[in-house]
Amino acid sequence: MSDHTQEKRAAKTEEMTVISNTPVADGVFRMQLEGTLAENMVWPGQFVHVQCGPGTVPLLRRPISICDVDDQGRHFTMIYRVEGEGTRLLSQKIPGDTVNVLGPLGHGFPIEHRQAGEHVVLVGGGVGVPPLYYLARKLVQKGVNVTSIIGFASEAQVFLDKELSQLGPVYVTTMDGSAGSKGLVTDVLTSGEMDSWDALYSCGPLPMLKALQQLYESGTQEAYISVEQRMGCGVGACLACVCQPSPDAKEKTGRSYFKICSDGPVFDLREVVL
């Protein structure tokens, strides 16, 4: 729902081929999928809707963020945590298997107005970190300076820290202090050690997003969050995934609700009620 226009390419379905599917942290897998769909995945922050099994159990697709796309647009990467039946089935796929993917879906992070030399902070938590990686790559390509602050439960859950550190400084936090600094990502933001920044982009669990809203809602700094919700269609038709606009956004947009799958998942931090 941002004002910024951004190239959004067509979504379709495709049986994509698994190139790799390997654990990157405790219960977390990285899957690379090949197919023509990848060339449409040009906007970081979008997601795909994935059919995890062949039959009717599980019935619905699962939304997973696009974590990276190769520069030729031939394959993309997603990183997912095994939560329930759907992601468990995904984790059993081996190279050569196919996965039916619907995407790319939704509105990603608005970045076309970013200028070289700006400083952007990426704030991620757990399986909210993956979309930030593709975002970081795109930003760095534009000459934007990127600092990542990524939080996990503990050391065993940490991933993408090394990859992100090749694109800019990375702060890792863990709840138990077993890796990086002990505490929350917001502790880093408020610690004073951060350089000033031009925009913040975030994806992570609801409490994290709420904490960010509390920190920045009343201010004026540019900030975007990617929001999760249980989905049905993933394309804006079923109204499973609605969220409420803030009073301001309601007035500005005339909208009484947003659909996270198609208006989001990325929203202006001040635009939605969490």
Binding site: L59, G86, G232, A237, C238, Y257
Partner: protein, 313 residues
């Protein structure tokens, strides 16, 4: 394919629901396809036999709190509620857009009082884009302590009668399966003037999260749809089609041409596909395209021949 063959293929799938002609028997089910805009990015909606749009009420409704969907074995629960922008915006923004596809539009209408329904029916049915109303009687009736209109034959019949009085287009009544005796409801509704039936709406179901110990749906319970309910739909359509003469739009778990034929044999004259759109956005055209081959296999020329041709054992 030659032009001749193509014409034949089209004709084989043609069905009639009373006065309504459909070039094929497949439409998306109400609530599962918005007003069509989202799926128009995947294919040309004029391929559809028709379209049933989301329940429309007098005023805008915001529906239930989230989470609104949950997964069940071969099914899903939803508690969207009656979220919709209200009839005026539907009339001004959605229906005109749908006109371009030149397919029969079934507008699902809902309310909490008879007056509500009548108001929507009167206004919506005047629109030239509307082929028929689909009366969603699964809604709670606020004047009867919130019990659904669809659970009492007389209440359902009264509502049908009032809506028929004002409607300029045929009225299909969408029956709730959460009843003891669906036959008597169907019969009463037919007597009250219904032009057809849509069945079935969702079964009431629930899931509880073990960790939070709370229902997965914020609304506690929701409607069960998808393949899991198909045998219940087939049974109810079979029973009802042996008791009424008006045409039936069948739905509940359809995801293949085979399912469509099973619904026809049970007594349906057309079908609607709901949940399967979420699994495969191309499901409606794929099912339509698959029908001629299946008819060949079954040695049937026109699909309309199959309605109610299920045999007793």
């Amino acid at each position: 394919m030659t032009g001749l063959n193509r014409t034949e293929t089209v004709d084989r799938l043609r069905v009639r629901l009373g006065d309504i002609e459909m070039k094929n028997p497949v439409m998306p089910a109400s609530g599962c396809f918005g007003y069509g805009r989202e799926y128009a990015q995947f294919y040309d909606l004029s391929k559809l036999g028709g379209i049933a749009v989301k329940a429309t009420t007098v005023e805008e409704r915001l529906g239930n709190p989230t989470p609104r969907v949950a997964e069940t074995p071969s099914g899903m629960l939803n508690s969207i509620g009656l979220q919709n922008p209200g009839m005026d915006r539907v009339i001004n923004e959605e229906l005109p857009w749908l006109k371009q596809f030149d397919i029969p539009v079934f507008v699902n209408i809902a309310g909490t009082t008879v007056e509500d329904y009548v108001e929507v029916a009167e206004k919506i049915s005047q629109r030239p884009e509307v082929a028929a109303l689909e009366l969603n009687i699964s809604c709670p009736n606020v004047k009867c302590g919130g019990i659904s209109f669809g659970t009492d034959p007389n209440v359902a019949a009264d509502l049908t009668r009032e809506v028929k009085r004002v409607s300029r287009v045929p009225v299909f009544v969408k029956l709730s399966p959460n009843v003891t005796d669906i036959i008597s409801i169907a019969e009463k509704v037919e007597q009250a003037g219904a032009d057809g039936l849509s069945m079935i709406n969702t079964l009431l179901g629930m899931r509880i999260d073990l960790k939070t110990r709370r229902p997965v749906l914020a609304n506690q319970s929701g409607g069960l749809s998808g393949p899991a309910i198909k045998p219940v739909a087939i049974r109810m359509i079979w029973e009802v089609s042996h008791s009424v003469k008006i045409p039936i739009i069948g739905m509940g778990g359809i995801q293949s041409p085979e399912d469509v034929v099973e619904f026809f044999l049970a007594g349906a004259s057309a079908v609607a596909i709901g949940t399967a759109n979420f699994v495969n956005p191309y499901i409606c055209p794929e099912v339509i395209n698959g029908l001629p081959r299946l008819l060949d296999k079954l040695g049937v020329n026109e699909i309309s021949e199959l309605t109610g041709k299920g045999l007793m054992r």
